[in-house]
C-alpha cells in the first residue's frame, strides 16, 4: 500500500491530504451553485403551481407514476452503490471498488432507460408542449406550463446524470492507471458527492412531477 508521502501533491498544496480535502471542498462549493440552478427552476414551478393549482392537478395526472417511482428507487440504490464503491476504495479492495462503480454506472443507465421509456409514453400521450400537445378539458393552457417544467427539469437532470456516468467511466480509467489507491482516492470522493447530489435533485423533482394531483 503506497504511503501517501510518496505521492507528490500539486505545487500549491503542502500535502496530498490537503489536495484531496480541497478538491472535495471545491465540489461542495460547486454544489451550492447547482442547488440554486435547479432551485430557480423549481421556483418557476412553485410560482405556477400556487397560481394554477387546479390546472396543475389535472395535468399532473398524466405523469407516468410507476416510471417515476421506479426511477427514484434506482437512483437511491445507485447512491448506495456509490458509497460502497468509495468504502471499498478506502479499504484498498480494488476489485470490489471496480464492481461497485460498474453497478453504479449500470443503475445510472437503467435510470436513463426507464426515462427514455417514459418519454416514449409521454409522446404517445400527446403531452409534449410544442411538438404535439393536447390539453385535457379543464386543464387550460396552464397545464402546458406543467409539462414545460417537466420536460426542462427531467432533461436537465438527465444531462447531469450522463455527466455523472461520464465521470465514473473516467474514474475507472484512472483506477486502471493506478492513480486511485487507498492512499489517495479524493477524485472518487468528489465524483461520489456529485453523484449523490444529482440523486438529491431527483428526490425533489419526484414530488414536483409525479405526486401532484394524485389525491
Amino acid at each position: 500500500m503506497p504511503n501517501s508521502a510518496a505521492l507528490v501533491p500539486e505545487v500549491q498544496y503542502a500535502t496530498i491530504e490537503q489536495q484531496g480535502e480541497v478538491a472535495q471542498l471545491g465540489m461542495w462549493v460547486f454544489l451550492v451553485n447547482e442547488t440554486l440552478f435547479f432551485g430557480a427552476l423549481i421556483f418557476t414551478y412553485f410560482v405556477y403551481r400556487t397560481t394554477y393549482p387546479h390546472a396543475f392537478a389535472v395535468a399532473g395526472k398524466d405523469a407516468v407514476l410507476w416510471c417515476g417511482t421506479l426511477n427514484s428507487a434506482i437512483l437511491l440504490t445507485s447512491s448506495l452503490t456509490m458509497v460502497l464503491a468509495i468504502n471499498a476504495g478506502a479499504q484498498d479492495a480494488r476489485r470490489a471498488m471496480v464492481v461497485w462503480i460498474l453497478a453504479t454506472i449500470g443503475l445510472g443507465c437503467a435510470f436513463l432507460g426507464v426515462k427514455g421509456l417514459e418519454y416514449y409514453l409521454d409522446f404517445q400521450d400527446q403531452v409534449v408542449p410544442v411538438v404535439d400537445y393536447f390539453a385535457k378539458p379543464g386543464e387550460g393552457q396552464a397545464g402546458e406550463l406543467f409539462w414545460v417544467f417537466y420536460w426542462i427539469a427531467t432533461s436537465l437532470h438527465a444531462i447531469h446524470l450522463m455527466t455523472g456516468i461520464g465521470l465514473l467511466v473516467y474514474m475507472l480509467w484512472r483506477i486502471r492507471r493506478g492513480e486511485i489507491t487507498s492512499a489517495y482516492y479524493a477524485p472518487l470522493e468528489v465524483v461520489g458527492i456529485f453523484w449523490s447530489f444529482v440523486d438529491t435533485v431527483w428526490i425533489f423533482l419526484y414530488p414536483c412531477i409525479y405526486l401532484v394531483g394524485r389525491s
Binding site: Q24, W28, L31, G39, T200
Partner: protein, 116 residues
Amino acid sequence: MSLDVNPRRALSLPFVIAWLILLVFTGVSLFTAFLGMGVWAPVAEFGIAALQAAIVFILFMRLKGPPSLRWVFAFSGFFWLLFLFGLSATDYATRRGWPPSYIPTRPGITTLEDGR
C-alpha cells in the same frame, strides 16, 4: 484533517440501513399523495423529500462529523432559495391582477393565436 474521517469506513451496514430508510420514505411519500390531504399533501411530500435529501447529504456525502465548512456550503444553497421563494411571495401573494386571464380553456389550443 486526513481523509479517513470516520474509521468505521469499513462497515457498510449503516449505509444499507440508510438506503432502506430512504426507500421507505419514498413509499410513504407516494402513500401520502393518494390520501387526499388537499393542501397538506405537497407540504408532507416536500417535507419527506427534504428529509431524504438531508440523509443523503449527511451519510452518503460524508458530511458526518462536527459541523464544519462543508456543512455551511452544503446548506447555504437551500438557505438562499428561501430568500427567492419567500420575498417573491410578498409579490405573488398580494398582487391584484394575478393570475392573468389570457387562459383559453378550449381544448386543442396549440397555435399562438394573436389577440388582436
